[in-house]
Symmetry: C2
Subunit: 343 residues, 2 copies
Amino acid sequence: MTGTLSPGISESSATLELASLLEPVSAEMKLVEEWLRSNLIDDSQFVASLLSQVFKAGGKRIRPGLVLLSSRATAPGFGELTPRHIILAVLTELIHTASLVHDDVIDKSSLRRGQETVNRKWNDKLAVLVGDLLFAQASICLARLMNPAIVGIYGQVLGDLCAGEIKQMNQQYVCAVDWDGYIYKSVCKTASLFSAGCHSGPILNGCGDEVVSALKDYGTNLGICFQVVDDLLDVTATASDLGKPAGGDLAQGLLTAPALFVLQREDEPARRLAELIKTRAVCREDGIAEALQLIKDNGGTDSTIALARKYAQQSREALRGLPASTYRDSLESIVDVMLIRTR
Amino acid sequence: MTGTLSPGISESSATLELASLLEPVSAEMKLVEEWLRSNLIDDSQFVASLLSQVFKAGGKRIRPGLVLLSSRATAPGFGELTPRHIILAVLTELIHTASLVHDDVIDKSSLRRGQETVNRKWNDKLAVLVGDLLFAQASICLARLMNPAIVGIYGQVLGDLCAGEIKQMNQQYVCAVDWDGYIYKSVCKTASLFSAGCHSGPILNGCGDEVVSALKDYGTNLGICFQVVDDLLDVTATASDLGKPAGGDLAQGLLTAPALFVLQREDEPARRLAELIKTRAVCREDGIAEALQLIKDNGGTDSTIALARKYAQQSREALRGLPASTYRDSLESIVDVMLIRTR
C-alpha cells in the first residue's frame, strides 16, 4: 500500500481506494445502505425527504465499513455476519450522521461534503430535530442489540461526543499549548466512535479480551489519526477539496495540531500566530490567510503529518495478533488510506 | 376530589395536590431524584453545573410519578418495585427534559418554569449539546432495561416527539381548522410519552394485555388532556403563573384548541381572528391582546375546558378494570389535578 502514498494523490483517490478495501464486506455494506435508506421510522413525506438529503450527502461510510471488517476479521472461521452486526454498523453511522447535523447547527456551517447543510437549506430548528431523530434511531438500534457491554460502550460514545464539543467550545481562542487536551478532544469527537465500532463486533462474536482490546486500540489510534489528518486538511486543503471553506477551525478559534506545533515554538512566528488568534484577526480573510501561511512556513504541517503517522503506526501494530485474512488486510490498508489524505 | 375543582385554585395548589398524590411512591420518587442529581455520566464541573441548572428548574416530576404509580398499581400483590422500574421512571423524565431543552432552542424561549433557559443563560450551542447529553442518558437507561417491547415503545416516543414538532413547524400561521391534526400533534408532543410511561411498568410486571392496554389508554387520554389544558393556559393564564409570556403559542402561529374553537365558527370573530393570525398581527402586543380577548369572548376557553374534561373522563374510565388500591386512587386523582389547572 505504500505505493499509494506518492504525492499528489487527492481526497477523491482516497475515497476510491477505500471503496476497494471495503470490497470483502460489500454484500453487508449494501444491507447497511438499504437500512439507512428505507428503515428509518417515519411515514411523513417531508421527513423522508429531509433524511434522504442527509444521506444523499453521503460520506465514505468508513465507520460502518470498519464495524463490518473488524466483525468479519474476528468471526469464528471468518464466517458470515448476523443481522446484529448489520445493526451495529447502521447505528454507528446514525450516531456519526446525527452528530454532524448537530455540529453544523453549532458551528453555523452552510456546506458539508460540498452540499448545503440541513440548517442552511431549511433552518436550525429542523436541523436540531433531524439530529434528534437520527439519535433516536440509533438508540433503538442499540437497545435492539440487547448486549449490556455494547450499551455501555456506545453510551460512553454519546457522552464523549457532547463532552468533546463542550470542552472545545470553552477553549475557543485560548492559545495555551495543551496537547493532552487536544488528544482528549480528538478521542471524544472522533476516536471514541471509531473505537466502539471496531471492538463491538468482536464482542458480539464472543471473542476473548485480547482480541477485543486489540481492536479497541486499533480503532482509537485510527480515530485519532483520522482527526489529526482532518485538522491538517483544514490548513492545507483548498475549499473545493474540503467541500467547505479552508481554515474554518482556526477562524473559529479552535486550536488543532498544526497551530499547536507553531505555538509551542515560542518564537516570533509563534507570537505572531497567537496575536492573530487572540485579536480575532483570524476571523477576517487577510488574518486567516496570514495565519495559515505562518503555520505552513514554520513546520506546522510537517509536524502534523508526523503526528498522524505515529498514530497510524500504533493502529497498525494493534492488529498484529489477529489471524491473517482479507479482512485484516483491509483494516491494515485503511490506515494507509488515512495517510493518503495528507498528500 | 371534585371539591378541589372549585374556582380560584391556582397552578401552585395543583402542584401541592400532585405532591400528596405521589406520597404512596415517595420512597421511589426519592431514588429517581437521586439518580437525576448524581448518576448522570460526566466528570466535568461545567457540565455538572449545566445539568444541575436544568434539573433545578425542576418541574412537577409528573411523568416519573405516573410510571411509579402505574407500576405499583399493577405489581403482583402491589409489591415493591425493582431497580428497573426506577430506571424506567428516570428515563421518562430524561426524555421529557431533553425535549424541553431542545424545544427552548427551537422556540427561542428565554424563560421556562420562571427560570432562564439554557439557550438564554448560555447559548443555543450548549443547549443543543445538553439536550443531546440527556437523550444519550435516556438511551443508555432504555437499553439497560433489556426489554424489546419497551424499546419499541420508547423508540416510537422519540420519533413522535420529532414528528410532532416538525408537523407543528410546517403549519405555523395556517388557519385551516384541522382537529385530527391538532390531536395528532398533542399525541406526538405529549401523550405518547405519558402513555409509554404508564404502560411500560405493567409490561415489566408481566401483566396481561388487558391491564397493559388499560394503562396505555389511561396515559394517552391523560396526556391529551394535559396538552389541551396547557394550550388553554397559554390563553388564560398570566405571565407570572406560566413562568413565560402568555399567548406565546398564538404569537408563534401555533393554532391550538382555544383558537380552533373560535375559527370553526366561521362568523365575524372567526374572520377577525384568522386575519390577526394571517397578517402576523399576533406577533405584536396589541394584536395578541386582541386575539386572546376574541378567544375568551367567543367561547374558545369554555369549549377547551369541555374538551379537556372529555379526555379526563376517558382517562378515568380506562382505570375501571384495575383492582382497587391506593396507587389506583392516586392515578384517578391525578386526572382531577390536571383539571384544577383549568380554574
